[in-house]
């Protein structure tokens, strides 16, 4: 095998194995930073040896064995150097655990523990997202930086600081107990949702969508659904992401411009993902008494996925689902979406009344979709001069290039 081919193999193996590798090592060394270092060391060893000796039959096991060996060596050196009684006792215990670390069944629990760790509320949202993509998604620092349009230095620093915070806060490597689980799980789901959304409707930059980031989030959601198959809301999130992703390729026009739901070519929706999304929603409904916020959004997405056209969409059902979602979240953004659904179900006057009621909402100040939705309703009511001003206001508040251009084009069309 040529060196570049081996390099590509190593990248692929890393992508497949790194999360489980780091998770298994974290259980042993109880420190996610040390675990990642050991895993990276093993990767470096692979870079040296595989081109020379060939790729091993079981690359994942090879990486784990190498990382563990290095972990043992490092601990031994520290034990000899520091010679502290307590330390020796503790480290020796760890060493014994190293030898017991073969139980494969544990690996999946480890993965779950790692997810709860990287999404721990002690970390900022940005830190959770970066650390999760890095340790569970197998993305490199440059890949994360590229995805979020920040410098590599920023991401590297964010990750280092996040790992330090986890250590200082003594965040345990464990799956939260029943009493804590719901809250902690919602933090995990939020991280995956944020990653997906950044790919689905990029908040900044010159690209409207970044499908690779959506794929990373979807993969995390699929993995999580496998790890927590009894949690309805996990399937709810998965359903939402599968259904949203099914529309990805219809959301972008030939020149990279956004295509709104009403204008999308529904024949281009990905039917495999639609079916997977509907199936996941079915599981969420079967497992949950009352649907959670992600499952409700998935149920709304499912209404669109099942509808042959905008006109023949079950808008009254969407309004009812938004009612439930608004009651659950109290989010003004949900209220805004509900206003759009009300417009489709009952006409623009009813929608505009709801939007105007949101005008003073502090949480929506500077949110470009508020004037954008209002403008849309004004167009429907034939109040084009007002609509134009609202589109221009929306464009002024929008940070995404293609989306801003679309808003300006719509303003110009309100002659």
């Amino acid at each position: 095998m040529s060196p570049t081919a081996t390099q590509r193999t190593i990248d692929a193996v890393w992508r497949i194995e790194s999360a489980r590798l780091i998770a298994g090592l974290t259980r042993i060394v109880r420190d996610v930073a040390v675990a990642e270092d050991l895993a990276q060391d093993a990767l470096v060893a692979a870079l040296e040896q595989w081109p020379r000796d060939g790729v091993p039959d079981n690359p994942g096991a090879w990486l784990m064995a190498t990382a563990r060996r290095r972990g043992i060596d490092a601990l031994r050196r520290r034990v000899t150097l520091e010679r502290k009684q307590e330390l020796i006792a503790r480290e020796l215990q760890t060493l014994q655990q190293l030898d017991l670390a073969d139980q494969v069944d544990e690996l999946e629990d480890d993965l779950l523990r790692l997810i709860f760790m990287t999404c721990h509320p002690v970390l900022s949202r940005d830190a959770r997202v970066a650390l999760t993509l890095r340790l569970l998604g197998g993305l490199s620092t440059p890949e994360i930086a590229h995805a979020f349009l920040v410098s590599e230095g920023t991401v590297a620093q964010r990750i280092v600081r996040a790992k330090r915070t986890l250590g200082e806060a003594r965040v345990p490597f464990e799956v939260p107990g029943r009493d804590e689980l719901a809250g902690r799980l919602s933090a995990v789901l939020e991280v995956i949702y944020l990653i997906f959304n950044e790919g689905y409707a990029a908040t900044g930059g010159e690209q409207w969508t970044r499908p690779a980031l959506c794929a990373d989030a979807l993969r995390l959601a699929r993995v999580l659904a496998g790890l927590l198959p009894r949690e309805g809301e996990v399937h709810g999130l998965l359903a939402l992401l599968e259904l949203q992703a099914s529309r990805l390729r219809a959301r972008v026009g030939p020149r990279g411009e956004p295509v709104l739901l009403a204008d999308q070519d529904r024949a281009r929706w990905d039917q495999l993902l639609v079916q997977r999304g509907l199936a996941a929603l079915g599981r969420a409904e079967a497992l949950s008494g009352a649907l959670g916020p992600y499952a409700l959004q998935a149920a709304i997405a499912a209404c669109h996925a099942r509808a042959p056209s905008v006109e023949r969409t079950d808008w009254p059902r969407i309004v009812a689902l938004y009612d439930a979602l608004a009651a659950l979240t109290g989010s003004p953004v949900v209220e805004l979406n509900r206003a759009v659904a009300v417009t489709m179900a009952f006409g623009p006057e009813a929608g505009l009344e709801l939007v105007d009621a949101l005008a003073e909402e502090p949480a929506l100040r500077g949110y470009h979709l508020l004037p954008s939705v209002r403008a849309d309703l004004l167009v429907r009511l034939g109040r084009t001069a007002e609509a134009r001003a609202e589109f221009e206001r929306a464009a002024g508040q929008c940070a995404n290039g293609p989306e801003r251009e679309l808003l300006l084009a719509r303003a110009a069309a309100c002659a």
Partner: protein
């Protein structure tokens, strides 16, 4: 990137023989790994070609040829649809599949709608849309 993994038929699969318990166990375990890793989107096995048919197209003629068909190794017995970050990742997954005995498994990348470019005209898309509408109405 989406991939299709194509499993060829064998004389046994064409004879309708079910896999052994050991083979089924190995395949189930492998499938579980694929699902848990978020890689497998779909996958199924096919009935033997004796239950299938072929249609030969010639001008306006449509000739039906009933199965079974010869050349088992050129027939398909099953497939997977995978979502992977790269072809190399798909290859790594494929290498872990529990096959043996010289069988050759094929890995192919699935076209995205974008790959068709100008061939899929707006008119063709309209037609697809109308068909979808009809299907949706019947549901």
């Amino acid at each position: 990137m989406r991939f299709m993994v194509i499993v060829p038929a064998s004389p046994e699969s064409e004879a309708g023989a079910m896999p052994s318990t050991a083979e089924l166990e190995a395949m189930t375990k492998y499938n579980e790994e694929l699902v848990k890793a978020g890689v497998m989107l779909a996958g199924d096995g096919l009935h033997p070609s004796s239950k299938g048919l072929r249609v030969r197209f010639d001008g306006r003629d449509r000739t039906v040829i009933d199965g079974p068909f010869t050349e088992a190794k050129e027939l398909i017995a099953g497939f997977w649809i995978w979502e992977c970050a790269s072809r190399d990742e798909a290859l790594e997954w494929l290498k872990r599949a529990p096959f043996d005995g010289g069988v050759q498994i094929e890995l192919r990348q699935v076209f995205d709608a974008e790959d068709f470019g100008a061939e899929l005209t707006p008119e063709l898309r309209d037609t697809e849309q109308r068909l979808r509408d009809q299907v949706a109405e019947r549901r």
